[in-house]
Symmetry: C2
Subunit: 339 residues, 2 copies
């Protein structure tokens, strides 16, 4: 082979997952002797040379954790994932070093290289909205956990929001208050399908089915997330012959637009139309009149879980071919907009 072998090449050749190769390189317990021997044999035959980091970790601890974020400024949530990880890092006497890549693949590679050079003990790789990601192959050289994102082949542990359950519970909050015509202003479109959009729609349908309410396509629309999209879609939904008595908005900004539209139509919240948002973006939810009831996106909890996973020995000893894919709930935050 003319090209330097990667951890993926080793995994393929040894018939194991990249995560297992990573565990062998990092000398974790609980990888079977047989599997370890097979991986080591392939590593030797392919002359694979792990970075200094992976090798040095066996004997020394740098107390550094790397955090790679795709964006830090385009959403107000970025900070919450970082803060969750940061709090665990300080509590466990680690330093979290954050690099923001702007989602540029070259930057992501440089960030991983820089963190490996600085001998990080592990890497948290975070996305600002829940989505599949691709990661540089050498990230497998140190324990890595994905926050608010996942790799399609599930070869790395991850922690993401439970979108289906969130959509289900938001809809149930409206159903159990007697609503049967529930408009759903979902985020983005279902095709190609980001997990938030697809998952919450599945949850919405599941809740309706449980209450024997027929699904009505006319009640579902998709907005790109700004207040104006919520405004436009609310006007459209309220102009139906049989308009909704409740709105489930895919984020709090669209809910803010929905408030404006209902206000223009002289409809009262929650008496004429109940509204539930998503995200719990407090700067909006707390400032609206009446205050917005919404579903909490667990950004802080995901950052916390990811850092906890990396710094806790038990979790790091996770075995089996598929690393843990953890779903965290999006708790209901009750305020005043449901009545």
């Amino acid at each position: 082979m003319s090209k330097k072998p990667t951890i993926h090449d080793i995994a393929k050749q040894a018939g194991v997952s990249p995560a297992t190769v990573s565990r062998v390189l990092n000398n974790y317990a609980h990888v079977s002797q047989k599997k370890r021997a097979r991986v080591m044999a392939v590593i030797e035959s392919m002359e694979y040379r792990p970075s200094y980091t992976a090798r040095s970790m066996r004997t020394q601890r740098s107390r550094l954790i790397g955090f790679i974020a795709d964006q830090v400024a385009t959403t107000p949530y970025a900070g919450d994932i970082i803060r969750g990880a940061q709090d665990v890092a300080w509590e466990t006497n680690h330093i979290l070093m954050v690099i923001s890549t702007g989602d540029d693949l070259n930057h992501v590679q440089q960030a991983v290289d820089a963190l490996l050079d600085r001998e990080v003990e592990g890497i948290i790789f975070a996305a600002m909205y829940h989505r599949p990601v691709t990661v540089p192959p050498n990230i497998y050289e140190v324990p890595t956990v994905l926050a608010n994102c996942f790799v399609e082949d599930r070869s790395l542990p991850c922690v993401v929001p439970d979108e289906v359950r969130g959509g289900y519970e938001a809809t149930c909050e409206l159903l159990k208050r007697g609503h049967r015509r529930i408009g759903f202003i979902n985020v983005f479109t279902v095709t190609p399908g980001i997990p938030a959009s697809r998952g919450r729609l599945a949850g919405y349908r599941q809740a309706l089915a449980e209450y024997d309410v027929p699904f009505d396509e006319a009640l579902v629309c998709f907005g790109y997330g700004a207040a104006e999209h919520g405004y436009d879609h609310t006007k459209q939904l309220m102009s139906l012959d049989n308009p909704p008595t409740a709105l489930f908005c895919g984020n709090d900004r669209m809910a803010m637009g929905a408030y404006d539209a209902l206000h223009k139509l002289h409809l009262e919240i929650p008496d004429d139309v109940a509204i539930i948002g998503y995200d719990n973006q407090e700067i909006i939810a707390m400032a609206l009149h009446p205050k917005l009831s919404t579903m909490q996106l667990p950004h802080y909890a995901m950052g916390h879980w990811a850092a906890d996973y990396l710094t806790s020995e038990e979790d790091a000893d996770e075995v089996g071919e598929t690393p843990v894919q953890r779903l965290l709930p999006c708790p209901f935050v009750e305020r005043e907009s449901l009545g």
Copy 2:
């Protein structure tokens, strides 16, 4: 001396500023030979040992810049300072490593130590609101620039918003539209005095004086920054015998509360009362009806300037006893709330 000498001890003994000692240690040009010799003599007599970082920098470049932030999540602006610095870092082939300290002094010290250990070429130390800060003494061992904060003795270069000019220009925007009764819902209190509060009040008074409008204490109040404070103060201001025809709100969240209060009083914006905000927090300013005119806090520009300062040779050669204390303007962002 039983205690290890710091860069401050050297500076005091040599009769120069800590910044000059830093320049000597980092081998910058343009420090006079005489001064350099004096500093070096003190360094030798006190047996001062700079960290590996400071010494190694003379011959090699790590391409790393450290960024220490007091908070990443409590304001939505944190990301903008980081993003400004990040963009310059990637452009100039540097990697920016961000550590968030939660404003805990032990964490700040650990962050500085960790960055010095990793041989950063320089450090950006940022605060999420404009204020004086204290920094660990060893931060002087590498070129350091403060963003949105400053040290009281002015011994480090800094970049901060021009609060006086911002307050002046915001008030002028109202005065030039004919308003003479201008309510000012300032941020926080003037005593003990954060620069935003004190500076903008000075600018407000300066603008009034220029238009020969007498200052009326009854028109000035202080809110802690949430929408509800804007709401309460607006109600109070509008209940004056001679109420304001325009409001200058110290941030966009309080302006949002002012909108609600005026709405409750059946007053139209901008026809009955004009409103100008501060910060340009777009998630609020763009979503309000009518859209909020406001002053832009230059967070992105400060991060950009700080990284530019560190990575540009010319700026690093800055001489003189007081390092540059750079003020950046807060540009007026016109939307619909002034008429």
